[in-house]
Protein backbone atom coordinates (compact mmCIF):
# COMPACT_ATOMS: atom_id res chain seq x y z
CA UNK A 1 0.00 0.00 0.00
CA UNK A 2 1.67 3.19 -1.13
CA UNK A 3 1.56 6.64 0.32
CA UNK A 4 -0.85 7.80 -2.36
CA UNK A 5 -3.34 5.06 -1.57
CA UNK A 6 -3.61 6.03 2.09
CA UNK A 7 -2.87 9.75 2.23
CA UNK A 8 -4.85 10.26 5.39
CA UNK A 9 -3.11 7.51 7.32
CA UNK A 10 0.24 8.67 6.06
CA UNK A 11 -0.46 12.27 7.10
CA UNK A 12 -1.72 11.21 10.51
CA UNK A 13 1.29 8.98 11.06
CA UNK A 14 3.71 11.73 10.07
CA UNK A 15 1.90 14.18 12.34
CA UNK A 16 2.10 11.72 15.22
CA UNK A 17 5.80 11.16 14.69
CA UNK A 18 6.57 14.87 14.41
CA UNK A 19 4.48 15.67 17.46
CA UNK A 20 6.11 12.88 19.45
CA UNK A 21 9.61 13.92 18.45
CA UNK A 22 8.99 17.53 19.43
CA UNK A 23 8.00 16.37 22.89
CA UNK A 24 11.38 14.75 23.35
CA UNK A 25 14.28 16.50 25.10
CA UNK A 26 15.56 19.35 22.91
CA UNK A 27 18.87 17.68 22.17
CA UNK A 28 17.14 14.60 20.83
CA UNK A 29 14.06 16.04 19.17
CA UNK A 30 15.57 16.76 15.77
CA UNK A 31 17.42 13.49 15.61
CA UNK A 32 14.42 11.42 16.66
CA UNK A 33 12.14 13.20 14.18
CA UNK A 34 14.40 12.44 11.21
CA UNK A 35 15.14 8.90 12.39
CA UNK A 36 11.51 8.03 13.04
CA UNK A 37 10.32 9.57 9.78
CA UNK A 38 12.88 7.46 7.93
CA UNK A 39 11.77 4.32 9.73
CA UNK A 40 8.14 5.25 9.11
CA UNK A 41 8.72 4.95 5.36
CA UNK A 42 9.75 1.33 5.90
CA UNK A 43 6.22 0.55 7.06
CA UNK A 44 4.06 -0.81 4.30
CA UNK A 45 0.53 -0.77 5.75
CA UNK A 46 -1.46 2.18 6.97
CA UNK A 47 -2.26 0.39 10.21
CA UNK A 48 1.41 -0.34 10.78
CA UNK A 49 2.25 3.32 10.27
CA UNK A 50 -0.41 4.40 12.73
CA UNK A 51 0.88 1.90 15.27
CA UNK A 52 4.37 3.18 14.68
CA UNK A 53 3.28 6.78 15.28
CA UNK A 54 1.48 5.89 18.47
CA UNK A 55 4.50 3.89 19.62
CA UNK A 56 6.70 6.92 19.03
CA UNK A 57 4.42 8.93 21.31
CA UNK A 58 4.94 6.39 24.04
CA UNK A 59 8.68 6.22 23.34
CA UNK A 60 8.89 9.98 23.77
CA UNK A 61 7.38 9.72 27.23
CA UNK A 62 9.91 7.08 28.24
CA UNK A 63 12.83 8.93 26.71
CA UNK A 64 11.79 12.23 28.27
CA UNK A 65 11.59 10.59 31.64
CA UNK A 66 14.98 8.92 31.32
CA UNK A 67 16.95 11.61 29.56
CA UNK A 68 15.37 14.74 30.94
CA UNK A 69 15.81 18.19 29.48
CA UNK A 70 19.57 18.74 29.65
CA UNK A 71 20.00 17.63 26.06
CA UNK A 72 19.66 21.23 24.98
CA UNK A 73 23.34 21.69 25.65
CA UNK A 74 24.10 19.05 23.07
CA UNK A 75 21.54 20.17 20.50
CA UNK A 76 22.94 20.40 17.02
CA UNK A 77 25.64 17.86 17.69
CA UNK A 78 26.35 15.86 14.56
CA UNK A 79 27.49 12.80 16.41
CA UNK A 80 24.84 10.73 18.04
CA UNK A 81 27.42 9.24 20.33
CA UNK A 82 28.45 12.67 21.55
CA UNK A 83 24.83 13.60 21.94
CA UNK A 84 24.00 10.65 24.13
CA UNK A 85 27.22 10.89 26.12
CA UNK A 86 26.25 14.41 27.04
CA UNK A 87 22.85 13.11 27.88
CA UNK A 88 24.48 11.17 30.69
CA UNK A 89 24.29 14.33 32.77
CA UNK A 90 20.55 14.68 32.30
CA UNK A 91 18.14 15.11 35.15
CA UNK A 92 16.90 11.62 35.46
CA UNK A 93 13.46 11.11 36.82
CA UNK A 94 13.45 9.89 40.39
CA UNK A 95 10.16 8.03 40.10
CA UNK A 96 9.95 4.91 38.05
CA UNK A 97 6.73 3.68 36.51
CA UNK A 98 6.48 1.08 39.21
CA UNK A 99 6.73 3.74 41.92
CA UNK A 100 4.11 5.91 40.23
CA UNK A 101 1.78 2.93 39.93
CA UNK A 102 2.29 2.11 43.59
CA UNK A 103 1.49 5.68 44.61
CA UNK A 104 -1.62 5.65 42.43
CA UNK A 105 -2.81 2.41 44.02
CA UNK A 106 -2.23 3.82 47.49
CA UNK A 107 -4.20 6.96 46.62
CA UNK A 108 -7.03 4.85 45.25
CA UNK A 109 -7.18 2.78 48.42
CA UNK A 110 -7.10 5.92 50.54
CA UNK A 111 -10.01 7.34 48.56
CA UNK A 112 -12.06 4.19 48.93
CA UNK A 113 -11.31 4.10 52.66
CA UNK A 114 -12.36 7.72 53.00
CA UNK A 115 -15.65 7.05 51.22
CA UNK A 116 -16.19 4.01 53.43
CA UNK A 117 -15.72 6.08 56.57
CA UNK A 118 -18.16 8.68 55.34
CA UNK A 119 -20.77 6.08 54.55
CA UNK A 120 -21.17 6.84 50.84
CA UNK A 121 -24.04 9.14 51.78
CA UNK A 122 -25.37 11.25 48.93
CA UNK A 123 -26.33 14.01 51.40
CA UNK A 124 -22.66 14.78 51.99
CA UNK A 125 -22.17 15.07 48.28
CA UNK A 126 -25.02 17.58 48.11
CA UNK A 127 -23.45 19.56 50.95
CA UNK A 128 -20.18 19.77 49.09
CA UNK A 129 -21.94 20.96 45.97
CA UNK A 130 -23.48 23.75 48.01
CA UNK A 131 -20.10 24.70 49.43
CA UNK A 132 -18.51 24.86 46.01
CA UNK A 133 -21.34 27.02 44.78
CA UNK A 134 -20.92 29.36 47.74
CA UNK A 135 -17.20 29.76 47.16
CA UNK A 136 -17.78 30.87 43.57
CA UNK A 137 -20.13 33.61 44.71
CA UNK A 138 -17.64 34.80 47.33
CA UNK A 139 -14.85 35.08 44.77
CA UNK A 140 -16.90 37.36 42.54
CA UNK A 141 -17.89 39.67 45.40
CA UNK A 142 -15.98 42.93 45.85
CA UNK A 143 -14.39 42.83 49.26
CA UNK A 144 -13.79 46.60 49.55
CA UNK A 145 -17.49 47.35 49.40
CA UNK A 146 -19.32 44.86 51.50
CA UNK A 147 -22.83 44.50 50.40
CA UNK A 148 -25.53 44.50 52.99
CA UNK A 149 -28.38 42.31 52.25
CA UNK A 150 -31.73 44.11 52.35
CA UNK A 151 -33.86 43.30 55.31
CA UNK A 152 -36.94 41.62 54.01
CA UNK A 153 -40.28 43.02 55.04
CA UNK A 154 -42.39 40.29 56.34
CA UNK A 155 -46.10 40.51 55.92
CA UNK A 156 -48.19 39.97 59.06
CA UNK A 157 -49.54 36.54 59.39
CA UNK A 158 -53.19 36.42 58.60
CA UNK A 159 -54.87 34.23 61.16
CA UNK A 160 -58.05 34.17 59.19
CA UNK A 161 -56.42 31.97 56.61
CA UNK A 162 -57.56 28.49 57.44
CA UNK A 163 -54.82 26.03 58.01
CA UNK A 164 -54.93 22.58 56.74
CA UNK A 165 -54.57 21.38 60.32
CA UNK A 166 -57.45 22.71 62.47
CA UNK A 167 -56.35 24.56 65.57
CA UNK A 168 -57.80 23.34 68.82
CA UNK A 169 -58.98 25.96 71.35
CA UNK A 170 -56.99 26.30 74.52
CA UNK A 171 -59.95 25.18 76.63
CA UNK A 172 -62.48 22.92 74.99
CA UNK A 173 -66.05 24.16 75.25
CA UNK A 174 -68.33 22.42 77.72
CA UNK A 175 -70.87 20.19 76.15
CA UNK A 176 -74.38 20.86 77.52
CA UNK A 177 -76.97 18.19 77.00
CA UNK A 178 -80.51 19.33 77.48
CA UNK A 179 -83.05 16.65 78.10
CA UNK A 180 -86.63 17.67 77.90
CA UNK A 181 -89.38 15.27 79.01
CA UNK A 182 -91.55 14.13 76.17
CA UNK A 183 -94.79 15.33 77.83
CA UNK A 184 -93.44 18.69 78.80
CA UNK A 185 -93.87 17.95 82.53
CA UNK A 186 -91.10 19.01 84.85
CA UNK A 187 -88.75 16.35 86.10
CA UNK A 188 -89.58 14.75 89.48
CA UNK A 189 -87.02 15.82 92.03
CA UNK A 190 -86.22 12.84 94.23
CA UNK A 191 -84.71 13.54 97.63
CA UNK A 192 -81.28 12.16 98.16
CA UNK A 193 -81.35 8.74 99.79
CA UNK A 194 -80.85 8.72 103.53
CA UNK A 195 -78.19 6.47 105.00
CA UNK A 196 -79.65 3.16 106.26
CA UNK A 197 -78.30 1.34 109.29
CA UNK A 198 -78.87 -2.36 108.58
CA UNK A 199 -78.24 -5.23 110.99
CA UNK A 200 -78.63 -8.57 109.32
CA UNK A 201 -80.75 -11.19 111.07
CA UNK A 202 -79.82 -14.75 112.05
CA UNK A 203 -80.68 -17.65 114.37
CA UNK A 204 -82.00 -16.44 117.70
CA UNK A 205 -82.66 -18.00 121.07
CA UNK A 206 -84.80 -21.19 120.89
CA UNK A 207 -83.30 -22.17 117.52
CA UNK A 208 -83.21 -25.98 117.31
CA UNK A 209 -80.00 -27.87 118.15
CA UNK A 210 -77.88 -29.01 115.29
CA UNK A 211 -77.43 -32.54 116.72
CA UNK A 212 -81.17 -33.18 116.52
CA UNK A 213 -81.15 -32.73 112.75
CA UNK A 214 -77.79 -34.45 111.98
CA UNK A 215 -78.81 -37.22 109.60
CA UNK A 216 -78.22 -40.58 111.25
CA UNK A 217 -77.05 -42.16 108.04
CA UNK A 218 -74.48 -39.44 107.69
CA UNK A 219 -73.31 -40.02 111.24
CA UNK A 220 -72.89 -43.73 110.58
CA UNK A 221 -70.93 -43.09 107.46
CA UNK A 222 -68.80 -40.46 109.19
CA UNK A 223 -69.97 -37.66 106.89
CA UNK A 224 -69.60 -34.11 108.10
CA UNK A 225 -69.63 -30.70 106.43
CA UNK A 226 -71.07 -27.20 106.17
CA UNK A 227 -73.84 -25.87 103.93
CA UNK A 228 -74.91 -22.26 103.41
CA UNK A 229 -78.68 -21.81 103.60
CA UNK A 230 -80.61 -18.73 102.49
CA UNK A 231 -83.74 -17.90 104.44
CA UNK A 232 -86.36 -15.13 104.10
CA UNK A 233 -87.65 -13.95 107.48
CA UNK A 234 -90.47 -11.54 108.39
CA UNK A 235 -90.28 -9.02 111.21
CA UNK A 236 -91.63 -11.67 113.59
CA UNK A 237 -88.85 -14.12 112.87
CA UNK A 238 -90.89 -16.51 110.79
CA UNK A 239 -89.95 -17.89 107.42
CA UNK A 240 -91.77 -16.37 104.48
CA UNK A 241 -90.39 -18.89 101.95
CA UNK A 242 -88.74 -22.27 101.98
CA UNK A 243 -85.01 -22.13 102.70
CA UNK A 244 -82.64 -22.85 99.82
CA UNK A 245 -79.03 -24.09 99.62
CA UNK A 246 -76.75 -21.33 98.29
CA UNK A 247 -73.52 -23.27 98.80
CA UNK A 248 -73.56 -27.07 99.00
CA UNK A 249 -71.44 -29.11 101.36
CA UNK A 250 -70.85 -31.62 98.65
CA UNK A 251 -72.86 -34.26 100.56
CA UNK A 252 -76.55 -34.65 99.84
CA UNK A 253 -77.40 -35.92 103.33
CA UNK A 254 -75.68 -32.97 104.97
CA UNK A 255 -77.48 -30.52 102.68
CA UNK A 256 -80.88 -32.16 103.43
CA UNK A 257 -80.23 -31.98 107.15
CA UNK A 258 -79.31 -28.30 106.85
CA UNK A 259 -82.56 -27.53 105.02
CA UNK A 260 -84.68 -29.38 107.64
CA UNK A 261 -82.92 -27.53 110.46
CA UNK A 262 -83.48 -24.15 108.77
CA UNK A 263 -87.15 -24.99 108.24
CA UNK A 264 -87.59 -26.11 111.83
CA UNK A 265 -86.13 -22.89 113.09
CA UNK A 266 -89.01 -20.77 111.77
CA UNK A 267 -90.26 -18.40 114.46
CA UNK A 268 -86.84 -18.44 116.11
CA UNK A 269 -85.01 -16.15 113.70
CA UNK A 270 -83.83 -12.70 114.60
CA UNK A 271 -85.29 -10.33 111.98
CA UNK A 272 -83.19 -7.92 110.04
CA UNK A 273 -83.14 -4.44 111.60
CA UNK A 274 -83.11 -1.30 109.48
CA UNK A 275 -82.54 1.86 111.47
CA UNK A 276 -83.70 -0.03 114.56
CA UNK A 277 -86.88 -1.36 112.98
CA UNK A 278 -87.50 -5.05 112.09
CA UNK A 279 -88.11 -5.60 108.43
CA UNK A 280 -88.66 -8.59 106.17
CA UNK A 281 -85.42 -9.61 104.52
CA UNK A 282 -83.52 -12.59 103.20
CA UNK A 283 -80.05 -13.52 104.27
CA UNK A 284 -77.75 -16.55 104.23
CA UNK A 285 -76.20 -18.30 107.18
CA UNK A 286 -73.98 -21.33 107.61
CA UNK A 287 -75.05 -24.68 109.18
CA UNK A 288 -72.30 -27.08 110.14
CA UNK A 289 -72.64 -30.79 111.02
CA UNK A 290 -69.62 -32.28 112.71
CA UNK A 291 -69.10 -35.55 114.59
CA UNK A 292 -67.98 -35.30 118.19
CA UNK A 293 -64.86 -37.38 117.75
CA UNK A 294 -63.58 -35.24 114.86
Amino acid sequence: MSEHEQPTAWAISRALVRCAARQAPPGLAQRLEEEWLADLTARQSALGRLRFGLGCCWATRVIAREFGVAAAASAGSASGQQLLVSAGGYDFSRLSRRTVALIAILCLHAGIFYLYLNGFTPSRVVDRIDLIHGSVITRNRRLDQPRLLPVPTLAPINDSVPDRIPRLPAQPPAITVTHSPPSGKPLVQYPPPKPVNVIMGGPAAGFPNTEDYYPSAAQRLGESGSAAVRVCVDPNGRLTAAPTIVRSSGLARIDQGALRLATAGSGHYRPTMENGRPVSACYPFLIRFQLENQ
Binding site: E34, F67, Q81
Partner: protein, 101 residues
Amino acid sequence: MGKRGGEVRISLQTLRALEAFLENPSEELSGADVQKRSGLASGTLYPILLRLESAGWFVSRWEAIDPVSAGRPRRRFYRLTPSGLARASEIFASFGRGVLV
Protein backbone atom coordinates in the same frame (compact mmCIF):
# COMPACT_ATOMS: atom_id res chain seq x y z
CA MET B 1 18.14 3.37 32.14
CA GLY B 2 21.43 3.76 30.45
CA LYS B 3 24.50 4.87 32.30
CA ARG B 4 27.83 6.05 31.08
CA GLY B 5 29.57 3.32 33.04
CA GLY B 6 27.98 0.68 30.84
CA GLU B 7 25.49 -0.60 33.39
CA VAL B 8 22.18 -1.28 31.71
CA ARG B 9 19.04 -2.72 33.16
CA ILE B 10 18.58 -5.90 31.17
CA SER B 11 14.97 -6.72 30.49
CA LEU B 12 13.48 -9.31 28.21
CA GLN B 13 12.88 -6.64 25.57
CA THR B 14 16.52 -5.54 25.81
CA LEU B 15 17.62 -9.11 25.22
CA ARG B 16 15.43 -9.34 22.14
CA ALA B 17 16.93 -6.14 20.75
CA LEU B 18 20.46 -7.41 21.44
CA GLU B 19 19.64 -10.72 19.85
CA ALA B 20 18.79 -8.91 16.62
CA PHE B 21 22.30 -7.51 16.52
CA LEU B 22 24.03 -10.72 17.54
CA GLU B 23 22.97 -12.53 14.36
CA ASN B 24 25.71 -10.55 12.62
CA PRO B 25 27.56 -8.39 15.17
CA SER B 26 29.36 -6.32 12.56
CA GLU B 27 26.16 -5.42 10.73
CA GLU B 28 24.60 -1.99 11.02
CA LEU B 29 20.87 -1.93 11.60
CA SER B 30 18.32 0.82 11.55
CA GLY B 31 15.47 0.97 14.02
CA ALA B 32 13.12 -0.43 11.39
CA ASP B 33 15.48 -3.38 10.82
CA VAL B 34 15.70 -4.16 14.53
CA GLN B 35 11.95 -3.90 14.80
CA LYS B 36 11.48 -6.44 12.04
CA ARG B 37 13.89 -8.91 13.63
CA SER B 38 12.84 -8.50 17.25
CA GLY B 39 9.15 -7.78 16.82
CA LEU B 40 9.33 -5.04 19.43
CA ALA B 41 6.98 -2.11 19.24
CA SER B 42 8.41 1.29 18.44
CA GLY B 43 7.44 2.58 21.87
CA THR B 44 9.66 -0.06 23.45
CA LEU B 45 12.47 -0.31 20.91
CA TYR B 46 13.69 3.28 20.59
CA PRO B 47 14.15 3.90 24.33
CA ILE B 48 16.20 0.66 24.44
CA LEU B 49 18.37 1.77 21.53
CA LEU B 50 19.02 5.14 23.15
CA ARG B 51 19.66 3.51 26.50
CA LEU B 52 22.24 1.09 25.10
CA GLU B 53 23.86 3.82 23.03
CA SER B 54 24.23 6.09 26.03
CA ALA B 55 25.76 3.17 27.93
CA GLY B 56 28.34 2.64 25.18
CA TRP B 57 27.02 -0.67 23.91
CA PHE B 58 26.05 0.85 20.55
CA VAL B 59 27.35 3.48 18.25
CA SER B 60 25.16 5.13 15.66
CA ARG B 61 25.56 7.22 12.54
CA TRP B 62 23.40 8.82 9.92
CA GLU B 63 22.91 7.22 6.56
CA ALA B 64 25.29 8.76 4.01
CA ILE B 65 22.72 10.13 1.60
CA ASP B 66 21.35 13.52 0.68
CA PRO B 67 17.76 13.61 1.91
CA VAL B 68 16.78 16.18 -0.71
CA SER B 69 18.12 14.26 -3.63
CA ALA B 70 17.00 10.92 -2.19
CA GLY B 71 13.55 12.25 -1.43
CA ARG B 72 13.41 10.64 1.98
CA PRO B 73 14.84 11.22 5.45
CA ARG B 74 18.15 9.74 6.48
CA ARG B 75 18.09 6.53 8.42
CA ARG B 76 19.98 6.09 11.67
CA PHE B 77 22.19 2.99 11.79
CA TYR B 78 23.19 1.27 15.02
CA ARG B 79 26.14 -1.07 15.49
CA LEU B 80 27.45 -2.99 18.47
CA THR B 81 30.69 -1.68 19.97
CA PRO B 82 33.36 -4.22 20.99
CA SER B 83 32.57 -3.64 24.66
CA GLY B 84 28.87 -3.92 23.96
CA LEU B 85 29.41 -7.13 22.07
CA ALA B 86 31.46 -8.56 24.92
CA ARG B 87 28.82 -7.63 27.50
CA ALA B 88 26.02 -9.00 25.38
CA SER B 89 27.96 -12.23 24.88
CA GLU B 90 28.45 -12.59 28.62
CA ILE B 91 24.79 -12.09 29.26
CA PHE B 92 23.68 -14.62 26.69
CA ALA B 93 26.35 -17.06 27.84
CA SER B 94 24.91 -16.84 31.34
CA PHE B 95 21.62 -18.00 29.83
CA GLY B 96 23.37 -20.94 28.20
CA ARG B 97 23.52 -19.52 24.70
CA GLY B 98 26.96 -19.26 23.16
CA VAL B 99 27.77 -16.44 20.77
CA LEU B 100 30.51 -16.47 18.18
CA VAL B 101 32.61 -13.34 18.47
